[in-house]
Subunit: 213 residues, 2 copies
DNA sequence: GCCATTATCTATCGGACTGATATAACAACG
DNA sequence: CGTTGTTATATCAGTCCGATAGATAATGGC
């Protein structure tokens, strides 16, 4: 794997020491979480592995609420290892946008539920956008400013698109999803049978595999 | 899980019968693959599970090259189960954009490698955009047209942003990444120590947890 | 004053999923 | 006539997620 969870943590530690809990919170609530994630179940083992490898050191410290926490800091070897990994080509984007898959089937969803799905997506994306803007500061490195700008551009485009085109899949007149489904099986049984999932229609034009990435 | 691989396959089968290999190819090369993925290691078990559950039927057929393939088709129960799942709220977007993480550390990357990373990203995204446009057809359902439009808007924005702002992280004058790294550890040891990964700076302003999503 | 909720903090584990690999048959290329 | 590429199914080690557990203490409601 090009950049696994240990390396992700190592990079974050480069910006300053932190505990496992703090790393998770930074990913969950901060801008980086918009495009990188990790669970406790991988962060804690990663930190202990990094320590055993000599890429990080661990120090006990008093937590904010009378609790002891383990604060990790990157070592010289850790910085070198991270820089080494950065010298490779990043892996392909990996995304899983369930709401888009849902909207693909807007005809099965019904106008009501389609609207609900879009409303929900708009609400969370507007919240994310607000968060992104609230943490803006003039003092952070150019790389972070660039990345934040990218994320804001993507969020803005998403919101604009959803608001501008939602009517295309909400206005369609349709019966309840349930009755339509039952009926559909009978009707389509003969009609759709001939059609296959379009694997073929992809590469005749572009030449095989041109699309991949 | 809201929409696991079996349900993903079931939805695809709704559009027409297919073999495991064809489903994989459709995801790999087609527009849906832009936001949903699945490996052979999950597709084949999924199809056999769906069949045992009565959500799909399996039929042997002559493959294009004298090979026998197993063609799966959705049943009435399968359609109902899929429609049922669609009636829930889709899970949050899950994305892993390694190239953004790399660019966050453009100061460690060096201008050359930063440029290489951006060039690579631009090339694959332009290829994807071209693919998206090549498969456009007037006859597909509104949901699919909507989703394709969304994907095109996002890709266009990404390409435009990268081209418009890449100079911000490519022009910075810097020594080789290696020498900077070694040096950095010595220099920053005392300076950065005080600073923590910004978990705190997130919610003082917005109120806690406003950002999540 | 008391109890439910929430936040901080570390840790583990079942199960899902990926990525790589094995196998096999045939086409096309040079 | 070997090598590479495509079609096709299948398995498996290892990674990672999501849920859960357990402990402490501040907050807030009533």
């Amino acid at each position: 794997m090009a950049l696994d969870i240990p390396m992700l943590c190592l990079g974050l530690l480069t910006r300053g020491e932190a505990s496992g809990y703090e790393l998770k919170k930074a990913l969950q609530d901060g801008p980086i979480g918009q495009f990188m994630e990790a669970s406790y179940g991988s962060i804690y083992p990663a930190l202990s592995r990094l320590t055993h490898q000599g890429f990080a050191t661990c120090r006990e410290s008093a937590g904010e609420r009378g609790h002891t926490k383990k604060v990790y800091a990157v070592t010289a070897a850790g910085r070198a290892a991270f820089a080494e990994r950065l010298r490779t080509v990043p892996a392909e984007d990996k995304l899983r946008l369930e709401f888009l898959y849902f909207l693909m089937f807007s005809d099965l969803l019904g106008a009501d539920h389609t609207a609900l799905v879009i409303d929900h997506k708009l609400a969370t994306q507007k919240a994310k956008l607000a968060m992104m803007r609230s943490v803006a500061s003039g003092i952070d490195p150019p790389g972070e400013r660039f990345v934040r700008g990218y994320a804001e551009a993507m969020l803005s485009t998403s919101i604009e698109y959803l608001e501008a085109h939602r009517s295309l899949i909400e206005t369609a007149p349709n019966q309840s999803a349930a009755s339509q489904t039952v009926q559909a099986d009978g009707v389509q049984a003969g009609t759709v049978q001939a059609r296959t999932v379009q694997t073929d229609s992809v590469h005749p034009d572009t030449g095989k595999k041109a699309a991949l990435a």
